[in-house]
Subunit: 184 residues, 2 copies
Amino acid sequence: VKVSKEQAAENRERILSEAARLFRERGLSGVGVDALTDAAGLTHGSLYSQFGSKDRLMAEAVNHAFVSTGANAGRIKSIAEAIATYLSAWHRDAPGVGCTMAALGCEMPRQSKAVRRSFTEGVKGAVARLGGLMSARRKRQRENDALVVVATMVGAMILARAVDDPKLSDRILTATLARLNEQL
Amino acid sequence: VKVSKEQAAENRERILSEAARLFRERGLSGVGVDALTDAAGLTHGSLYSQFGSKDRLMAEAVNHAFVSTGANAGRIKSIAEAIATYLSAWHRDAPGVGCTMAALGCEMPRQSKAVRRSFTEGVKGAVARLGGLMSARRKRQRENDALVVVATMVGAMILARAVDDPKLSDRILTATLARLNEQL
DNA sequence: TGTACATCAGTGAACGCGCGTTCACTGATGTAC
DNA sequence: TGTACATCAGTGAACGCGCGTTCACTGATGTAC
């Protein structure tokens, strides 16, 4: 059942975007190849035609996740807007379309070189984008400021999602948001 | 091969401390029951005599991990000392004996109630301990300050371990350490 | 103190299941003439 | 434009493997007498 080149490219894109969502929702090791191809309306064999292995798909899906969230974040015009959007209950409750660092960060130390490289590039991109909104005079200082803000927001989001106590979860987000707003 | 009560209690403790280390090194889903009991010099069946299921062991091991790192952290006398110890290359490279939040945070949203409850109690304990070192006048403000510092350190540690670029990893730690020292 | 026996922590074979991957095959695409 | 055929994206059965869990059994512990 060969399909047209356009159809094949479309299938590839659909696998990637479903993978980017599923991996962020359930973790890299929490989603099997059947779940990935089922979500795209295909059978598991097609994954091997398109990507060769689950690991290669993971590397591309991590990149895809960073790119799609980065496209949304690109519209943001100030640091205040960036942190308010990031540290929201909406973002906490929608990991599948949210920050890749907060969703997959803890799994990275145990991933292949290819997957970690995609992730590292994504982190650099996010820091560069936020650095562009910073007010410090020197570029290096803006990057360092962005690095710390990113680390703070990622840590707060991970903890807000992790804890089993809704009040504590909300408090992590609001306290972090208030503190970052004070500083900037 | 029944063993004495003291021996059984010792075996239980050994499984727990090995589990607390292995889970932080390889993740909750990355360690099987055989690996857990092998590390304690027992067979997998003994895990079911002692804990009933892997999930119950996970809940106890998460608590054990928090308690053992909390005992070390209890000796720390100032915020400056706490953040310098936390944001060190040594801590980054020793996840098995390090912060439970940084090691397992991302996996928590998908865990059972029992595991998440252990984790949540651990987070509250860590925040309370750090809050005790804070200088704000009101208790609630000290807790909020501690919450943000914990989130910042956890996020920085997760990213420093995740990225595949040693220079960026070091920079995440040093920039975060410098910024937190400025603020406090 | 010595003997008989119930207890139960730990053993190891076996279970069903889902994992990532392989591979012979299918059949529409798209090219060569 | 029409026909013949090579290509290759996708199918689905099958693979070996490790997972968490069960269970009949072992045999030293620890208690009852």
